[in-house]
């Protein structure tokens, strides 16, 4: 229970259905931890893990009459989400902390706690569907009814064991219906705004977050400044550090040329940022590592799917095939713009999630 509309509605709904429920909130990050560091706000409110949200979640639990606890997973969150987030940027990749959080915290650590305290399943307010498919003999993850809220992209890492113990009660509902349900149950949070950004990065400014976090840790920002080169290898300038760039970025390159330039590639080893014209942003294939397959146990032969390469991306037709140990090659029918290392590639067969991996 995050204190938001979705998980609150789930709790009210399951309670009304007569389930034996326990409300849990994960304390993952102390929002005041970096307050006062340069560029960080003094006060952070209305965000995941803020006191206001815990207060809201607790009030909902009290209102619907279920036991409620806050469980502290700050250490694990920092180790498995925040640290990798910082390190990915410093290596020239663009990370997705929400997937790491789902894989390591929400559907791993939280599930362990849930089972330890006597619960059989974990229900969350994610927009997705889960169900057992007799024909395939596998648990399937599917896109939700409200495709505008689809969160399956962040859930591709769930294992069969995790899916078998997960409930997504909002899978068949639209957001307006969820708000209506919360209002019908008299929950004060029915009109609460949706959270949008990465929960631990205030204002979405990840560069300032990295600076503040490293300063807090007593570490200095590694010097990742280097050359700005064209796709032909010609050095055309300098850049301030690879973590300031993301593939597809156009602004802030600090060079003036006749035609617009984009970041095409970031080379962590050489500290180089490769720039070029927009046409150079398109590529026909990607390789994904650390693969998790859901609808099939193994990819024994090439498979026709749609591949989603970032959260706001319309899945594009492609063929996927095994290309190495724990690696999949996806070849698109049409070249895709700004395929970004560090992001996830998630494979869909209609609304069924086949699996996914991390773009290299």
């Amino acid at each position: 229970m995050s204190g938001g509309v979705d998980s609150s509605a789930v709790a009210a709904m399951l309670r009304a259905e007569g389930h034996n429920l326990i409300g849990l909130t994960m304390q993952l990050w102390n929002q005041r931890r970096l307050a006062g560091h340069e560029g960080m706000p003094e006060q952070v409110t209305g965000r995941c893990c803020s006191l206001d949200d815990v207060y809201d979640a607790r009030r909902v639990a009290q209102q619907i009459g279920i036991p409620y606890y806050v469980v502290n997973h700050e250490d694990r969150f920092e180790r498995d989400v925040v640290r990798p987030f910082v390190e990915e940027y410093l290596s020239g990749r663009t990370p997705i902390p929400c997937s790491l959080c789902n894989n390591h915290l929400k559907f791993d650590q939280l599930l362990v706690v849930a089972r330890q305290i006597g619960a059989d399943r974990v229900a969350t307010g994610h927009y997705a569907r889960v169900g057992y498919d007799d024909a395939r003999g596998r648990w399937l993850l599917k896109r939700p009814a409200d495709t505008s809220k689809d969160q399956t992209y962040f859930l591709f890492g769930l294992t069969q064991e995790q899916l078998s113990r997960t409930l997504f009660p909002l899978g068949d509902m639209t957001k307006p219906q969820v708000r209506e349900l919360a209002a019908k149950h008299g929950l004060a949070i029915a009109e609460k705004l949706d959270s949008q950004e990465i929960c631990f990065v205030p204002g979405g400014d990840y560069k300032r977050f990295i600076d503040a976090y490293l300063a807090e840790q007593g570490e200095s920002l590694p010097d990742t400044a280097g050359e700005l080169v064209t796709t032909n290898g010609k050095v055309i300038g300098e850049h301030s550090g690879i973590h300031n760039f993301t593939v597809g970025q156009r602004k802030g390159l600090g060079v003036a040329t006749g035609s617009p330039l984009y970041v095409i590639q970031i080379s962590g080893a050489q500290k180089q940022v490769v720039v070029g014209g927009e046409e150079k942003l398109y590529s026909k294939s990607l390789r994904a590592k650390r693969v998790n397959l859901i609808s099939v146990a193994e990819l024994t032969e090439p498979m026709r799917v749609s591949v989603k390469i970032r959260h706001r991306h319309e899945p594009a037709p492609a063929i996927i095939e095994k290309s190495g140990d724990d690696e999949i090659l996806a070849t698109f029918d049409q070249p895709q713009r700004a395929i970004t290392p560090g992001q996830a590639a998630v494979f869909y067969d209609e609304d069924v999630v086949v699996g996914g991996g991390w773009i290299t």
């Binding site: 815990v54 806050v70 362990v112 330890q116």
Partner: protein, 390 residues
């Protein structure tokens, strides 16, 4: 569902006799103790009578007792009120946050603070106190009994050091009051804090003993209450409750009644140690108050154990709840040298006057099976293998 409460170091239920003593002072005898009329005289008598009971418990003069809103205020009053900017304060790493954070605040307000370590038993070495003294040391604040482990500090030795060096000595006796005999003359302290709700009086009342002749700067400014040491209309029902609790505690201590409590605590401790593998008693090798045991169950998250036990009807605690209600690893256990994961796998059981043998039976039936289930489901745990004997 049957519920058993073994978290009496967090708070205690108001005992029926104490509740009855307080009852008239809500509606019938409601006067302001400072008023000159009949109503005021009535409550003034009750407040002064309570003061005498508290004084009897602490073996001090009634005029040396200052009523406060609780232990935290008493600690803050002592630390702020007995020091001045430029002073040096000696305290320890295992103090309650009411002392630690008050000291930290004073550090920001121009005092110097030395925070002494403890050994593996949880004891502050009196020689460390002696060595920490500086020419500008104005106050030593070392607790009498620790809230998490129940370990009793060597306050009489520390008091002797303070007296010899002519330095003020405050002790937070919130977890000691009512559990062990307290004699401020033996401790030779200048200030001592107690809290009502840790000894079966209600929440919202406490007291600070301040030795006669000790200059104390108040925290609040207002009326001339409590001999100008604590402004604000007295919480009469609370004070009456604290007085009654002190009276009852003294009577029980005088006739050795706490042995019943320590026998129950020991039975709980031995029972768990006999049934569960890989358990250790934190602070078990030091002298402790009779109601507390802090057990470390290796390979589990104490937080999950507390929740699992609560869902089955047993209330215990771990660490200190932070503002969200989440649990942070205990600074006390970490100071005793436990690793963070060991601190997180520790649980405190604390008994009260209402605790019965049946309550202990209930805990002994529930804890071993719950720990076993948690370990079975813990990714951190592998069952110790039986080593074949040669």
């Amino acid at each position: 569902m049957r519920r058993v409460y073994l978290d009496n170091n967090a708070t205690t239920p108001v005992l029926p006799e104490i509740f009855e003593a307080m009852r008239p002072y809500f509606a019938d005898q409601f006067g302001n103790a400072s008023s000159i009329h009949h109503y005021g005289q009535d409550t003034r008598a009750a407040v002064e009578s309570a003061r005498e009971s508290v004084a009897a418990l602490l073996r001090c003069r009634a005029s040396e007792v200052v009523f406060t809103s609780g232990g935290t205020e008493a600690d803050n009053l002592a630390i702020a009120g007995l020091t001045a900017p430029g002073d040096h304060i000696v305290t320890s790493a295992i103090e309650h946050h009411a002392v630690l954070h008050a000291c930290k605040h004073q550090e920001e307000a121009g005092r110097e603070v030395t925070c002494l370590p403890v050994d593996a038993r949880g004891l502050v070495d009196p020689d460390d106190v002696k060595r920490a003294l500086r020419p500008n040391t104005g106050l030593i604040s070392i607790m009498m009994a620790n809230n998490e482990t129940g370990v009793l500090q060597l306050v009489e030795q520390i008091g002797a050091i303070a007296a010899e060096a002519n330095i003020l000595f405050h002790t937070d006796a919130v977890q000691a009051a009512g559990k062990v005999a307290i004699d401020v003359n033996k401790i030779r302290c200048h200030a001592l804090s107690i809290s009502g709700h840790k000894m079966h009086a209600p929440q919202g009342v406490g007291a600070l003993y301040v030795k006669k002749g000790t200059r104390l700067q108040p925290l609040f400014y207002g009326g001339r209450h409590e001999r100008q040491r604590r402004a604000g209309t007295e919480n009469v029902p609370g004070i009456v409750g604290l007085g009654k609790a002190a009276e009852m505690a003294k009577a029980a201590l005088d006739c050795g009644d706490t042995t019943k409590l320590s026998a129950m605590r020991d039975r709980l401790e031995h029972g768990i140690l006999a049934q569960v593998e890989e358990v250790a008693i934190n602070g078990g090798s030091a002298a402790r108050v009779p109601n507390t045991t802090n057990l470390r169950f290796d390979h589990i998250e104490g937080e999950s154990l507390v929740i699992a036990l609560d869902l089955k009807g047993l209330a215990v605690s771990t660490g200190a709840a932070c503002s969200s209600g989440a649990i942070e690893p205990s600074h006390v256990l970490v100071a005793m040298g436990l690793r963070s994961d060991q601190a997180r796998s520790s649980i405190r059981f604390s008994l009260g006057k209402q605790t019965t043998d049946e309550d202990i039976d209930f805990a002994l039936a529930l804890v071993p099976e719950t720990v076993a289930r948690l370990r079975e489901l813990s990714p951190r745990y592998t069952k110790p293998s039986v080593i074949a004997r040669s």
